[in-house]
Amino acid sequence: MISPRLFKLLLFFALGLISLQLLSGIWLFIEKYGLTPGEVYLYFAGDEANFIMAKSVEGLLETAVPHFVAVSATIFVYAHFLLFTKEISEKRKQLLIFGLFLTALIDIFSPLGILYGCELFAWLKVLSFWGFEILMGVLLYMLFSLYLLQKRA
């Protein structure tokens, strides 16, 4: 039998560490790409007037490919804790999991659209990135309140 106190301790640190990792991702996004869709578009598509080189497909894949594993593993590891609780309806759980994977996929693929000159994809990149971060925040908050705040989980 696993001690519930040890389980809670492990989950507490796991939530803290992944929050730090997500924050580093947000910071990196702002530092590298900027905050607005215009800045994001310029980062990927380049701008001759400002001597910004357009990114290559190889460069995009170098970032995108590891993210397929990393993002899916993170969602899987953390969201699987939702399966053990009945306090959230099945529909909400499904909506959250679907939303996480959908926003992650749009976030990963949208730079390819920007590279082919469509500015709309810069908007999609920004919206999906923030959507993913917000949904991850919701998931972590749910786990925190379900397993660490309540006496019976």
């Binding site: 039998m1 696993i2 001690s3 106190r5 040890l6 389980f7 301790l9 492990l10 640190f13 796991a14 803290g16 560490l17 992944i18 730090l20 990792q21 580093s24 991702g25 910071w27 990196l28 530092e31 590298k32 590891p66 990393a70 593993a73 993170t74 590891v77 699987h80 804790f81 053990f84």
Partner: protein, 159 residues
Amino acid sequence: MKFLVSKNLHANPNYTLLLGFFAVMLLLYFAGDLFYLANFFGHTPLAVLQTLRGDLDAFVEPLSLASLLEHLHVSLFLAILAIFTTMAIVLRLNLQFRHKQLLILVSMSSLFLASLSLLGTYFFCDALVYAYLFFTLLWHLGASYALALILFELWVKKA
């Protein structure tokens, strides 16, 4: 936590073999990560500061914020995954409550503090480099010790 099929680590010989080699690979990751960090940042406080701040005399450019964040983002992810799975197995070991509690507390809090002190060294204070080196060494040692205990229970102690 349902990372493992069974709560009994000796449920099946193949399971023991599988978990054992998984632990060996993670042990190699923790050891390799220390070498990688020593190579990337340096293994002395002065070398780490030189990497972060640069050194005009030695023609070393300062590390850009984007590079630092990229490093933190990737290494933290790998470390979380490795340490989380290690501690999930630790929960199933035949150890005293306090022993397990200390292992989780020391390893995971040091990983957290190592990341924060690296950022602190970059932005605020050179003295935090000592905290960075100390906590980095501590979480690697804590996690490696946990894996050594797992291997001992799986392959030496038997059921």
